[in-house]
């Protein structure tokens, strides 16, 4: 059993609009799997279905062989799926460190009363998660910003904080929604290094949405191309760029133009 995520015949309708049409794909353990397609193809909708924000009209989502369709978003996280957002959504009044500590929430298993009365377990767990958070921030190179407000950081660094925060929840599957968006080539290169490091250090499987084809080519083992909610291609990135259907989805159909 090496399949970690199995999306089975998922259809999502919003009123009369079919956003996802009978989509199936599966992600193997340890892969970096790409999900690409033009704007409005339904990529983020798929993320929302996997993470439990939306309930699909039809179909199922299996994670490690178990049905997680319609599980509440916060329960999906505890099962081992974490995500980032397309438009960065950090906790804006909090420091970088506190943002990351939020990710360790379930690890710090002291109770409300233990926090109020400051019992030993509070100190023990708080110290542990602080050490873990600093270690994680070092991997991303953001430990120097620990005490800064998260929103004071540059765009690229905010992205890193968001990914680090997701990794802190100790997932086995990480969903990245356009991680390289708004980054300069330099930052994008850094990001791919980090993703490779994450994969080996934290034993992660990654499903990512991206528009930067160079980045996708370098990162992904396999990808699915969506257009108007339908799968038009599945396979290796190198084959995708020469596929006729994919080209026409992005650039329009030359033959009938």
């Amino acid at each position: 059993m090496n399949t970690i995520l199995d999306v089975k015949n998922v259809t999502m309708k919003f009123g009369g609009v079919t956003a996802i049409d009978n989509l199936s794909f599966s992600v193997e353990k340890g892969e970096v799997y790409g999900l690409i397609g033009p704007n409005g193809a339904g990529k983020t909708t798929i993320f929302n279905i996997i993470t439990g924000v939306l309930y699909p009209t039809e179909g199922k989502v299996l994670f490690e062989g178990k049905d997680i369709t319609g599980t509440k978003p916060n329960r999906v996280v505890s099962k081992g799926v974490a995500r980032t957002f397309q438009n960065i959504r950090l906790f804006k009044s909090m420091s970088v460190l506190d943002n990351i500590l939020i990710g360790f929430d379930s690890y710090a298993n002291y109770s409300y009363l233990e926090a109020i009365f400051r019992l030993p377990r509070y100190f023990k767990r708080e110290k542990e998660i602080r050490d873990k958070a600093y270690k994680l921030m070092e991997v991303f190179g953001i430990d120097i910003f620990a005490d800064n407000r998260a929103t004071d950081l540059s765009y690229g660094n905010q992205r890193k904080v968001e990914i680090a925060r997701a990794v802190a929840t100790n997932p086995r599957l990480l969903l990245l929604d356009e991680p390289a968006a708004g980054m300069n080539p330099n930052e994008t290169a850094q990001l791919s290094n980090i993703i490779h490091k994450l994969k080996s250090e934290f034993d992660l499987t990654i499903l990512l949405i991206e528009h930067d084809m160079k980045f996708v080519n370098a990162m992904c083992n396999k990808l699915t191309v969506l257009d108007y909610g339908e799968k038009i291609f599945e396979g290796k990135p190198a084959d995708a760029i020469v596929d006729e259907k994919v080209i026409s989805a992005y650039l329009g159909d030359f033959k009938h133009a």
Partner: protein, 347 residues
């Protein structure tokens, strides 16, 4: 995490505060003492209101309802049974009301727990949906409590209210409980629960995506607020010695809202600071309502001038410090940031 130096510093601060409370109770005149007791009650209420409204970011208008619950429970429990029989003029008190009697501390705690229980019942439907429903529900709840108190004279003596409440609440009680409230709030803020509450305030979707059960966190914040508001209500009842349903109108909530906005939504040090400043300042501004004599010329008395000056101060606050005196940070965070910036500029 466990910092011995900070621990010693905190112990010293707590002991100094307790010493001041004891000193004030023993040697201050009754006028100054009553100002201090007012400040203490306001501090308890503002601190707890700040938890749900400022820290967890759930706009709520509940304090008057919970304060009323705490006040009535405590009052009924500490008034001696024979006094109650004389007092209930409209109808005879219900047997359970007539016979219930206990000492002060358990009565105050029961007031707190009663408010907390009601908060839980309110939270179950309200926090299942998002949006400003909490404000509407709690606003209505305040009115319901008042009408309940007026229309059930066998429990509350109706619109006449309860009087002859034993005056147990001195400044030692009020000051110590205010201190405990402050410590509990700070302990909540600097724990994973406080962080989760702030996360829910900043971005509820992202908080859910981090695995936070937002319903549970909001309910916890609401119940904690309710508990301390109930306790504050009990102390208030015993301090004033009489309570009527009209005392717990929406104006009380409104006043507390001014406190926490002035101090900075989400800042416990801010709420404490605002309670002290406004509790003391509003009393001192009373000279404005009296006859004013300047340079030998008598300007006569202008009743209401106090509130005009108070409003002008609030207006200036909102113009120049829109996010309150402390913003959403604690005093210690501000000092730490200041030190860090100074260190950085030196380099």
């Amino acid at each position: 995490m466990f910092d011995f130096k900070r621990f010693i510093r905190n112990i010293v601060l707590i002991l100094a505060t307790l010493a001041f409370i004891y000193y004030a109770q023993k040697s201050m005149d009754s006028y100054n003492l009553s100002i201090l007791m007012n400040i203490g009650i306001f501090a308890i209420l503002a601190l707890s209101y700040n938890l749900i409204n400022g820290v967890a970011g759930q706009f709520s208008l509940e304090p008057n309802g919970f304060v009323a619950i705490g006040a009535y429970f405590t009052a009924i429990l500490i008034i001696p049974p024979e006094t109650k029989l004389d007092m209930f003029a409209l109808v005879d008190p219900a047997p359970i009301v007539a016979s219930a009697h206990m000492s002060f501390l358990p009565a105050v705690l029961i007031g707190g727990f009663a408010a907390m229980l009601v908060a839980m019942l309110l939270a179950l439907p309200v926090f299942r949906v998002r949006g400003d429903y909490l404000a509407i529900v709690t606003l209505g709840f305040g009115f319901i409590i008042r009408i309940f108190a007026i229309n059930n004279p066998e429990y509350t003596n109706g619109a006449m209210g309860l009087n002859d409440i034993p005056e147990y609440a001195n400044f030692i009680w009020i000051g110590t409980i205010a201190l405990i409230t402050f410590i509990v709030m700070i302990h909540i803020i600097y724990s994973k629960y406080g962080r989760s509450m702030k996360a829910v305030r900043d971005d509820e979707d992202a908080a859910t995506a981090m695995g936070i059960n937002t319903f549970k966190i909001k309910t916890l914040a609401f119940m904690t607020s309710a508990f301390f508001e109930g306790v504050g209500g009990g102390l208030l009842a015993s301090m004033l010695t009489t309570i009527t349903p009209d005392q717990f109108s929406f104006l009380l909530t409104f006043q507390l809202l001014i406190f926490i906005v002035l101090g900075g939504l989400g800042s416990m040090s801010g709420a404490l600071f605002a309670s002290i400043l406004l509790g003391w300042g509003l009393e001192k501004l009373r000279i404005l309502d009296e006859n004013i004599t300047l340079f030998g010329h008598d300007f006569g008395a202008h009743p209401g001038l106090r509130m005009v000056v108070f409003s002008i101060i609030l207006l200036l606050m909102m113009l120049y410090a829109r996010r309150g005196v402390f913003g959403d940070r604690e005093l210690t965070d501000i000092i730490r940031d200041y030190k860090r910036k100074k260190l950085e500029s030196k380099k």
